[in-house]
Symmetry: C2
């Protein structure tokens, strides 16, 4: 099933959305919010699934689903932990800088604790107070977990994945070096992210969900032009089970924890930095990566970070070319 | 007024607690949870204050308040952002290591995004799966904010502080160097923290709350022995207004955000590393600091990190020698 939250108060109003994203049924009589559903998933999920079936069969009242009315499915969350699972990307960035990448990066995931107190909606503007901060998009896959026990194995962790979605993990690139240099990780450099209009249960994804990875192109547009089409199932060094096990090594994870894949990135066919779509490549899921490639090839980056009025679109299609999770579509304001 | 949450479900049951912490009145008919109260503070605070007044005057039903029945006042939160405001401590640690501390540390606060999906209660055991992780306590002051607009000034930020309390920010010291070396900040090295049995409104603190700092000794006991009595009002380089302004530079903060001071630490009278209480000093608010002093003086640390069965107590007294926030009292299990 597909679940979304219509904008309503701080936590939205839970709705079940039809597979084609055209219709929704109000689910708030079952449980008012998605967080509430996740808090007691074994009780609520079967009832929500029944509602989804009735919606699909058009035997209950339904309303048109407008993605602009949707908040992020969890408008705020108790945990947002973002990995960096596409290690090829990290390796290439380091290579471009002439910096060594520790071998441990291939077997010990990078992960940071993100802010989760207020996400922006999938069609909301990205507020940017200062263009000099170097605003970037990052197209990623995310999963939402139920309660995860401390010390869970990577294999068992897969059973705790309840929902799958996409995010635009907005980053302020020019604030990152200073923050990471201080050693305490990201804070000011990670303003609120936005998530896809709906999150989807793994069973709804069919063959696209395999071994803790989501197979499919993450289509990214920048100002209406194709910018990236990397496949999220390729070059993902750490599957979501491994990322969850990493997060739960020293503590349990509460229901509604969102775990991110990090920026989706595929290596080029020749193993080098990915090429732009216009040159026959798979393009990029963030501006930082194209700037890195430009630096390698031209000595300096030419693609600018996001400025006021720039627009970003992130979507993944099913086999019928319909968006699976809806479309993240935002302008910088 | 003083507010606490009795253990009940994931978010506790809100209670108003008498100033002497002996009694409580159920507040859940006003709003079921502290997060709910914070989400609409201007509506709920006056009603809760009336209840607190009635409780103090013993004109409503009341029950004995047992701190062992209390969860952390916010059993889970949407944001836990911990600063490192006692820069003298950081400077001494660096000095002991022979490492330079960047001058920027004196005017640009260190802050990390902490996990907030499930805190442990003030009298709960600290679960420790592996003593080799190097489990440490960290006694800190915290504040809880309402909604804070992006770009708030340090002065205006003070108006957004709704509650004040204490925390034991549990840290796994031996996991920190590896994590910070990876550049993404703390994650596995910061298991769930616990908070004082009650949080208190700033007006209730009288003269102890001044200019965004809490004046008073943070009394720390380790296995029943006095371990620290540093004054939280001394040597705090960044007041809470400055910490909040730092957190809100690039994004608003949602209601119920908890901001931590970092480990409370006073410099010695001679400006050097603080001395143990047994030697007439003010002692320490974490084990790492005494180990640092031992390393300077003896060439190696002799105080061990927490092991199974060790106990920790953190409390701050008012002028009548009554605990202001109740007592954090935990054993390692």
């Amino acid at each position: 099933m597909k679940l979304g939250s219509l904008k309503h108060g701080r936590d939205g109003k839970l709705v079940v959305v039809s597979p084609d994203l055209a219709w929704y049924a109000d689910a708030s009589h079952i449980v008012p919010t998605l967080q509430g559903a996740l808090d007691d998933w074994s009780t609520h999920a079967p009832l929500l699934q029944n509602l989804a079936t009735d919606l699909e069969h058009n035997v209950i009242p339904r309303e048109r689903f407008h993605e602009r009315d949707a908040a992020s499915p969890l408008p705020r969350a108790y945990q947002w932990a973002d990995g960096s699972a596409y290690v090829n990307h990290v390796a290439l960035v380091r290579q471009a800088r002439g910096a060594e990448m520790p071998d441990s990066f291939w077997h010990d995931p990078l992960m940071y604790q993100g802010g989760s107190d207020a996400f922006i909606g999938p069609r909301d503007d990205i507020p940017l107070a200062d263009e000099a901060w170097g605003c970037d998009l990052e197209a990623e896959v995310v999963v939402v977990t139920g309660d995860v026990p401390q010390g869970v194995s990577a294999t068992d962790a897969l059973d705790h994945i309840l929902l799958v979605g996409l995010t635009n993990d907005v980053s302020l690139r020019n604030l990152i070096p200073g923050e990471l240099g201080k050693g305490f990780g990201f804070f000011q450099s990670k303003p609120p992210s936005s998530f896809s209009p709906v999150f989807v249960t793994p069973d709804e994804l069919g063959g696209a969900w395999q071994d803790g990875k989501l197979k499919g192109e993450v289509l990214v547009e920048l100002n209406g032009e194709p910018f990236g089409k990397a496949d999220a199932g390729d070059d993902m060094t750490f599957d979501f089970g491994t990322l969850i096990a990493h997060a739960a090594k020293t503590r349990p994870l509460g229901a509604g924890t969102i775990i991110g894949s990090g920026t989706v990135s595929n290596r080029d066919k020749d193993g080098g930095p990915g090429q732009p779509i216009a040159k026959g490549g798979l393009g990029y899921s963030c501006i930082a990566e194209v700037r890195m490639v430009e630096t390698i090839e031209d000595g300096k980056p030419s693609t600018e970070f996001l400025k006021k009025g720039d627009s970003v679109k992130i979507v993944m299609m099913d086999e019928h070319h319909h968006p699976i999770f809806g479309t993240i579509e935002q302008s910088v304001a």
